[in-house]
Each structure stands twice: as C-alpha cells, then as structure tokens.
C-alpha cells in the first residue's frame, strides 16, 4: 500500500445552520487519481475549497503532505494547484501575461518562470496564441489554459473541480487524457470532483461517493460495482410494449423492487433484490395485461451503485420525478374501462 499524501479527519463545514460537509474522513494515496462523486450541492466543492485553503473548516483537520490546512496554509499552497469550475483567467490579459502573473505570485525566479510558461503553452498547443487575449479564446482553449495555470508551481497535488463541465465531448476527452498523462508521467496526485459517472469511471483509481455532505462509499470503481453484486441486487432492463401507469404502479409496489427508472415510453430500468424477484415482476406485469417484449440482465454501472446507496439518481437528486397518474394506495387501482 502506498503512503498517503492527504489525510482528512472529521472535516466539517457549516454555513450558518446548514451542514455542507458532515464529519468527513478519508485518505488520498500518493500518486493516485481520487474522485469525489456526487450530485450538485453534495459538498464536493466545499471539501475541495477547504483542502485548498480557500475555506476554513468549522471543525476537523486535514493535512496535505504533512502540512495542516489551517496552521500551515502557505506551505500547503506551495504544494497544490487548483482548477476551479470557474475560469481563473483575466480576459483582457494575453495567455502569456496571465501565466506570468499567476506564476510571479509563487516567487519563481524570472528565467525559470519564463521557460515554464513557454513549456506549458507548448504542452497544450497554445504557443501560437500566447499573445492573444484570453477573452478571445474558445471554451476548450480557455479550459486548457485553466488547467495549465494550476501547473505553474509544479504542484504535487492537483485539484480539479468539475473539469469537464460545459465542455463538448471531444474537449472532455482531451482534458481527461491530459490529466491521466500528467498523473502517469509526473506522479501528480489528483483529486477530481464530478457529477459525471463517465468522468469518475474513466479517470479515477478510487472514488468516494458523496451525498448530503457525507461519504457513503469509498473504493475502486470495480469494487464499488462488485459491492452491488454481493448484495444480491440485480439490475433488469424491461421493455413493455403497452407500458401504462397501472403496470408501473404495480411494479413499484412490489417488495423486491428497490427503485424504478422509466427511461422512455416503453423501457424500464429496475433494481431488484432476492431470488424470487424475477418471477414476481413477470407475474405482476402479466396480471395487469402488460406485454413484456424483452428482459435483460445488466452489468452494474456506477450510476446503479449510486442509486443503490442513496436511493436517488445523481443528476436530479432534488426533484425525483414521480410519474403522474401513478396509483399508490393500499387498494388496487380500479379498472378504468372494460374492453
């Protein structure tokens, strides 16, 4: 097991009465890519802000490379680089001026800094645009600048807050590849927050799933998925040609069903547990005269793990939609019409 570079103990952050981060503890190993996965407002960014000394914890401690984030904040700052959700760039300054400005705040000798800036611009293929104002750049170019800016002080730990937010798929791939390369070649430890399952799955060595300020699970992507298999949970994808609210309601009402996601007008994805789950679902559909056209046993994804652990989806944790017209009562829904 590798040595840990970040140690977080009982970290808590309150905003007035609201607890944004609730007694969180974890360790990040040297050289790994560590993911904080959770819906918006789960507290990922707040954890990152505390670890980068931009916010003070209400209670608890954390150390980066042995330095305390409150007591030795300036030492911590020398070790870290941060890629924020917002662009940390002055639009009226050129690419080169921006990097030279932020670099100069780190007390890097001038000749070293100049070379570093040139190298970094070359690294992200922006040398041609070094004398153009950043405000004229495309979103993808700006995000590349934003990442490179965090590398000026050659950080040992790099924080990325939603690095692919608002980027087109191609730019997202570029950023992901860039981070992985950086991690592989320089051994930079990376912590990345995201609400995108793909990001977490493709990039991270280990993932902490966060919901309502708490870590609900922490492991590698494959272990998290295995954890789901071990719990006797099965993921089924059903296609019902005449899917009605009545059928949906009776599936939801079954004891063996943990959660139901309606993907479109005929497809359902359901998480079920127990040996008899398969039979009871088919019975329930038949009883309501449903036409089951296909049934498929899916491999669990991170999304399913999240759903299993928190009971809701990552994307819309706040407004979990309950389909209209769903009958939910102790009695069977009366038949609307006899054909």
């Amino acid at each position: 097991m590798k040595k840990s570079i970040i140690e977080v103990k009982n970290l808590t952050k309150m905003f007035n009465k609201f607890t944004a981060v609730d007694n969180v503890s974890f360790e990040v190993r040297k050289g790994e890519i560590f993911g904080l996965l959770g819906p918006n407002g789960a507290g990922k960014s707040t954890i990152l802000r505390m670890l980068s000394t931009l916010a003070r914890p209400t209670s608890g401690t954390a150390t980066i490379g042995g330095y305390d984030i409150v007591k030795n904040d300036n030492e911590v700052r020398k070790l870290i680089g941060i890629v924020s959700e917002k662009m940390i760039m002055y639009n009226r300054l050129t690419a080169k001026e921006n990097l030279l400005f932020f670099g100069s705040l780190f007390n890097i000798p001038k000749d070293v800094l100049t070379k570093k800036v040139d190298d970094l611009l070359e690294l992200v293929q922006l040398t041609k645009f070094k004398d153009s104002q950043v405000g004229t750049f495309s979103t993808g170019m700006q995000q590349r600048m934003n990442v490179v800016r965090a590398l000026l002080n050659t950080p040992r730990v790099l924080y990325l807050d939603e690095p692919t937010l608002g980027l087109d798929p191609q730019s997202s791939v570029e950023i992901r590849e860039f981070i992985k390369k950086l991690n592989r070649e320089n051994g930079t430890t990376v912590i990345v927050t995201t609400h995108m399952m793909v990001d977490a799955d493709l990039m991270c060595d280990r993932i902490a799933i966060i919901d309502h300020g708490k870590i609900v699970a922490l492991d590698t992507s494959s272990n998290l998925k295995k954890q789901l298999n071990g719990t006797n949970t099965t993921i089924l994808k059903l296609e019902i040609a005449n899917l009605t609210p009545t059928i949906l309601g009776s599936i939801r009402a079954l004891k063996c069903v943990d959660s139901v996601i309606q993907e479109d007008s005929t497809h359902l994805k359901i998480l079920v547990h127990g040996e008899e789950a398969f039979d009871s679902i088919i019975d329930a559909i038949r009883e309501k005269k449903g036409k089951l056209t296909s049934i498929e046993n899916l491999q669990p994804t991170l999304e399913d793990v999240f759903l299993h652990l928190t009971g809701h989806q990552v994307r819309d944790s706040t407004n979990q939609k309950i389909p209209m017209n769903t009958h939910s009562g102790p009695f069977n829904r009366p038949k609307a019409r006899i054909r």
């Binding site: 680089g81 009226r92 001026e97 400005f101 932020f102 100069s104 705040l105 007390n107 800016r149």
Partner: protein
C-alpha cells in the same frame, strides 16, 4: 528574513497593481469614460454656476410708468427712465419693455415672458418736486428665487447709483460752492472697499474645483476597491490569487495602488481642465496638492476595505457605495459651504474625512496655504486613516477565508 518578507510583499502588490492597470488600459470604453466623467462634471458645474454673479444679462423686465406728473410736468419720471436706460446700455442687465398695468406684469411673469417688473408710482413727480421721496417698486418672480435675488440686487445697485447722482445734483443746487467730490462725501461719507486675502477675483469655480478633485480621487478608492475585489470574487480569479502563497494584504495593497493611480489620473485631468478651461489659479504648490490627495486616499482605504469585506457581490458593493457616497458628497462641503447647513448636519460633516481633505485642498489651491496652515486637517486625515485601517484589516482577513 523580515526584510525579505517585506520585499516580496511589496513586489506582489506591484504585480497585482500592474495587472489591474493593464486590464484598465485595454478596456478602451472604460478608459474613455474615465476621462469623460471628470470632464462632464467640470463642464457642467463650470457653466451652470455663474463665475461672478454678474453673468446674468438681458433679463426680460417690464417698466410700468404710472406717474401722473405734477403741475403739467413729469420731468422727474422721464429723467429716471432716461437714467435707467443709460446705465442699462452699459450693463445689459435688462431687456426693457413697457407694461400697461400691474395685472399685465403679473400675467407676463406667470406665463414666463418676464422675470419681473419696475413700477414708477403715480405720485412720483409730485413727491420729488415737493421735496419728498419718490417711490419705485420692484416686482419679482418668486418661482425663481435665484434669478429674482440677482435681479433685485442688481436693480438696487442701479437705483442706488441713480439716487446718488440725483442727490449730488441736489446738493450742488443748494450750495453751488460744493464740488462734485465734496457733494459725494456729504451724501455717502463712508467709502467701502472689499479685498481678498490673495489677489484676483476667485469665482465659484475656484471654490468648487478643489472639492471635486478631492472627491473624485478619494471616492475612486472607496468605490473602486470594493467593486474591483468583488468582481474578482465573482469571476473566480480571486481564488487564483488566494491559492498562491502570498500575504492576503498584498492583494489589498496592490488593488489600492491601481485605484490610486486611476484616481490621481482623474484628479490630474480635473486640475488641467480647471486651470485651462475655467481659469482657476492655483496659489499653493502643486506637489502639496497631490500629496494631500494621496493622504486623502489613505484616509479612505480603511473604509474601502470594510465595504469590500461585507460586499458579497458587485451589486451589493455598488449599492453600499451609493448609499455612503451621497451624504458624503453633500455634507463634506464640496458643493456648498458647511456653514450654510443646519447644526446637526454640520456635526455629521465633522466625522467625514472628505470634509477635512476638501478644506485643506481649498486652502492650498485658493489661498496658497502651506503645510503648517493645514496641519490640523492633516492630523485628522492621518488619524482617520490609521484608525479605520486598524479596524479593517482583521475584518478583511476573516472575510476572505470563510
């Protein structure tokens, strides 16, 4: 070690200031507005406020002669009208017309054709010829107090001049051995003259230019600092500086330096315009003027930092600024003398640093005062700056890492 720390502190501040100034320079529209704003202010105030009270000319005024004459003679009223016209030909104070009745004058004042009227009473000739005073009435337009006051003052002076002339003639008629000069001494034994502390004739503009200068420069720090910092917070660039191992205060110092440079640029523009366009003469030393502006800026920095700490976004910052700026503008004696205000407002103005800066700047620019003359103002400004900064710095530190 401490020396090294101070050096990097200063160097970081300068980099931040330089970065801000480059941004300012590349924002062409902002730069143009930066120059136009003081220009507008100067031109507006310079032309709206008459420089010496004498620029009011050609006031439309109607003359109503109700004189009935006395023993077939209306010579006195004719002489009066001729005299008035002669003087008016020199001063161009009035555009005279004739009115048929007092109702006529009232109507024309009400519909805006006239600014006032002059009425010669019906017993004017009779009174004068029988050794009594002849009565003239000046009718004024109460809806416009400034104009009516100016007109009243100018007409009183004119009539005073006319009665003195007439009196001189009368005295010489009574005793032909009296010379013209002696007759004047008999009627007006006192010769009153006015003289300022410095030579020349300072206009309202000389009074207001130092005030506007002080206000613009100092407000630029008080308003510019919170707006600039809350903008960086909103955009996110503040985080970029905050994650660097720099002293938090170098951010404040750097931003302040940039704002001071901006403020002094504006102050300089005002000064050039005041001297070049409005003929303001600067009696004191220019160096002292700019040192005073810098000291004024220092007095405002603490206040600026406090507002910065409490303003979460640009909008709040702007609102806080406006709320504070208005009373300060009017209570600090920039536009109106403090002595004109009611006592409770005067006591408020004593707590505003701008009051002392304006006062000192005015003394230097208009009266040519030197450092020792304005020492009490300087002490207040220094104390104000030190006290507010001591209060502001811990507040800022706490607010930055929430």
């Amino acid at each position: 070690m401490i020396n090294m720390g101070a050096k990097t502190f200063i160097s970081h501040s300068f980099r931040i200031a330089w970065k801000d100034l480059i941004e300012l320079y590349r924002n062409k529209l902002g730069l143009v507005l930066l120059i136009i704003m003081p220009l507008f202010m100067m031109v507006m105030i310079g032309f709206i406020y008459p420089s010496n009270g004498s620029t009011v000319t050609n006031l439309p005024v109607a003359l109503l002669n109700e004189d009935l004459g006395f023993s077939n003679s209306n010579l006195p009223s004719q002489a009066f009208i001729t005299g008035l016209q002669q003087i008016n030909d020199q001063t161009h104070l009035l555009t005279l017309s004739n009115a048929s009745s007092i109702e006529d004058i009232r109507d024309k004042v009400q519909n805006g054709e006239l600014n006032g009227g002059i009425i010669i009473h019906n017993n004017f000739s009779e009174s004068l010829l029988s050794g009594e005073q002849g009565t003239i009435t000046i009718v004024t337009d109460q809806s416009n107090p400034t104009i009516s006051a100016t007109m009243q003052a100018a007409l009183s002076a004119t009539f005073d001049q006319m009665s003195t002339l007439l009196a001189q003639q009368n005295v010489q008629m009574l005793n032909s051995s009296v010379t013209t000069n002696n007759s004047l001494a008999i009627i007006k034994p006192y010769n009153v003259q006015t003289e300022g502390v410095v030579s020349g004739n300072p206009s309202y503009f000389d009074f207001i230019a130092p005030g506007i200068m002080a206000m613009t420069v100092m407000m630029s720090v008080m308003t510019g600092l919170p707006v600039a910092i809350s903008q960086e917070k909103e955009v996110g660039t503040m985080d970029g500086m905050m994650v660097a191992p720099i002293n938090r205060m170098s951010i404040i110092l750097g931003k302040t330096l940039a704002q001071v440079a901006r403020g002094l640029l504006q102050g300089g523009i005002i000064l050039v315009l005041a001297v070049g366009l409005f003929g303001v003469a600067i009696q004191g030393s220019i160096l002292l003027v700019f040192s005073l502006l810098l000291l004024g800026v220092f007095a405002f920095v603490g206040l600026g930092i406090v507002i910065t700490s409490f303003a979460k976004d640009q909008e709040t910052a702007q609102m806080m600024m406006t709320t504070l700026m208005f009373p300060m503008m009017f209570l600090s004696g920039v536009f109106f003398p403090i002595q004109q205000m009611p006592w409770y407002m005067q006591s408020i103005s004593k707590f505003l640093p701008l009051t002392y800066a304006v006062d000192a700047l005015r003394k230097v620019m208009v009266l040519g005062a030197d450092v020792s003359d304005i020492s009490s103002d300087l002490v207040v400004l220094v104390v104000f700056g030190v006290v507010t900064t001591i209060i502001a710095v811990p507040i800022f530190r706490r607010m930055m890492t929430r």
